[in-house]
Symmetry: C2
Subunit: 133 residues, 2 copies
DNA sequence: TCAGATACTTTCAATTTACAAGTAACTCAT
DNA sequence: ATGAGTTACTTGTAAATTGAAAGTATCTGA
């Protein structure tokens, strides 16, 4: 493993609210971060795989988000191949614990946004959804 | 009720991904939107109440987010008093269905961000959490 | 008539994002 | 051994979004 997290005794960095929702959103509240987590939960591991997702995350944003998730202890990075150097990203336990959040978003989207691919079809690909909700 | 939603046959406006997570995040994926939903779930109803939350949402952002939530059919607005005109915002069923998403964020925050106020203490104020998770 | 409350809107500097292109290290085919 | 291709990024820059502050409109009550 290459990067590590700092324990940090107290909570909310940006906003200094005591609310767990506010604190979580400081880290996760944007259009891209949870999509990277989704990809990781779906079993993707490399920079290129994340880039190839249908939403088309910009490269600089992806790099920045991976750094933040790494710093937050939500993902970890490892070299899975030397010469040429290749990296794999994986969720930590903290990251896997976001399963229920993603799961709730899938359910809400399925119920209220017509045309979204149903939970069952995602389940076929993913491991987390079966136990996530 | 003052504003209304358009049904709209298909789904994802911005990104045109079929993923329910991506579509949900197009609407909800930022630092403030879900905090307004949280306040609504906690029983707050007026513009001023939202502004008074400890996170201190900027006034222009609040106005814009309320418009978006209104347009998306997540909240509805009503006059609860004439002369002086006073407005109350409430969640629609679509909005109340975000309860599990917020609930999952509370659980994740409580588990992984030290110093956040525990679910039990929020439950005391809110109705949604007891059945939301 | 004048301070105070509610519900916003406007202005503008600063930050963030998106898009495109570039870089560095290495492989493999010719 | 040269040159195209792959992976994993970084850099530059224009455009969009945000944040902080101030302003506007309407009404109340002293």
């Amino acid at each position: 493993m290459i990067d590590s997290k700092k324990p940090g005794k107290s909570a909310c960095v940006d906003r200094c609210s005591p609310c767990p929702v506010a604190c979580s959103l400081d880290l996760l509240g944007d259009k891209w971060t949870l999509l990277v987590v989704r990809d990781l939960l779906l079993g993707k591991t490399t920079y290129t795989e994340f880039q190839q997702s249908p939403e088309g995350i910009p490269s600089n944003i992806l790099a920045e988000r991976l750094k933040r998730l790494l710093a937050a202890g939500i993902v970890e990075k490892s070299r899975y191949h030397e010469r040429p150097v290749r990296y794999a990203y994986h969720l930590t336990e903290k990251g896997r614990d976001l399963g229920p959040v993603l799961s709730a978003l899938v359910d809400w989207g399925n119920r209220h946004i017509p045309g979204t691919v149903p939970r069952g079809q995602i389940e076929a690909q993913a491991l987390w959804l079966s136990k996530g909700g």
